[in-house]
Symmetry: C2
Subunit: 189 residues, 2 copies
DNA sequence: TGACGAACTTATCATTTGTTAAGTTGCGTG
DNA sequence: CACGCAACTTAACAAATGATAAGTTCGTCA
């Protein structure tokens, strides 16, 4: 539930604010393969996944380069777009039939200026996004593909239940063929 | 000048606030190789470089893995520490004799709660740090070592005037020997 | 139920990067 | 001034990853 996630970050979230948030939110049921936001378009929403799974990727020389995975009970948006006001560098696509809450960003900004609590939520979320990016950058810089694979296998096994190995390979920074080789070498161990 | 940098971000920065900032700041002259913040210690400051150059790195299997370069007229700190309250994962060291302004973080936080303008500065800076990390992560994920080298050579040539090639190689994610090879292959072109 | 395609694996060879060690250059310092 | 050291390069070989193509498995759907 979206309020559980919010309250885990800021503590109690009063009913009056819940009502405000609901006013600018829409629940959407989307099919597998549905494109939520396309590369080159502006990002005007914040999303929350009630059920399902979403990936974010970029076209690099004809291949999808996956940079983010989002699962049930996660918020997602292109924070880079919000900060820079640029068009989206990524495409966001559902990999399963999903139910998402779509929150209007301009209206959310308006709430932020009028109610400090929304500002706090926004800041805390931005901090979480930063730490996530920072961590993943360190993983890419400091560890081998094999170590990165083993990390995700051990620490984020849920990913393997929702995304295919080609997308996971891309996320790790290697090809699907290389990942297959790494997986093979691990079995006799 | 530090105020030019601040005003480039938020516009006019009134004299009364300048005085407040100066009260919690100390100008320090440090030697080449001086360690400003050590891995494993808490990060309680924000720094601004009046003159000089600073690198941030982490010990990975006996090698320095450089993750950040900072030059004159730049702010720097370990933002990850501020967000998570963890001890520093990086060591920050001057690579030249430098002059830096050291700003007390707890006192800065106190100013933030009392004067909204400091909060705004903090948020804008955090956004810049995020975009920087995001960009560098994309560079690592989407481009080859050679492309990354060419990017820095073209877009950030100042780096080459202050940091040695071993540190630059580390920053790009390869060994100094590999970087040397890449540089060699480029000359006959 | 049978054909197709997506997901994944395997094999082979090319390319990139790492590792080790030796060589060169230039600068600071006793 | 000469010595030593740090920065950088070069060479030879090893290891990791990419690219291409073919093979396997399995679920979907006409």
């Amino acid at each position: 539930m979206i309020y559980n996630v919010i309250e885990s970050v800021i503590g109690h979230f009063p009913a009056e604010y819940k009502a405000m948030l609901e006013e600018i939110s829409t629940v959407r049921h989307i099919d597998k393969e549905y494109t939520i936001l396309e590369q080159g378009k502006h990002c005007n929403h914040l999303w929350f996944i009630n059920k399902g799974a979403v990936k974010a990727f970029e076209w690099i020389e004809g291949n999808e380069r996956v940079s983010h995975f989002f699962l049930s009970q996660m918020f997602f948006t292109n924070y880079y777009c919000w900060v820079t006001k640029n068009k989206s560098d990524l495409t966001y696509k559902a990999v399963e039939d999903s139910e998402i809450i779509e929150i209007d960003y301009p209206k959310l900004e308006a709430l932020c200026t009028r109610h400090h609590i929304f500002d706090t939520i926004g800041r805390k979320m931005a901090e979480k996004i930063f730490v996530q990016e920072y961590f993943n950058k360190k993983l890419l810089l400091n560890y081998t593909a094999k170590e990165r694979y083993e990390y995700f296998e051990k620490e984020q096994p849920e990913i393997f239940q929702h995304f295919n190995l080609k997308d996971i390979a891309s996320f790790i920074g290697i090809t699907d063929v290389s990942l297959s080789r790494i997986r093979k070498e691990r079995i006799p161990k």
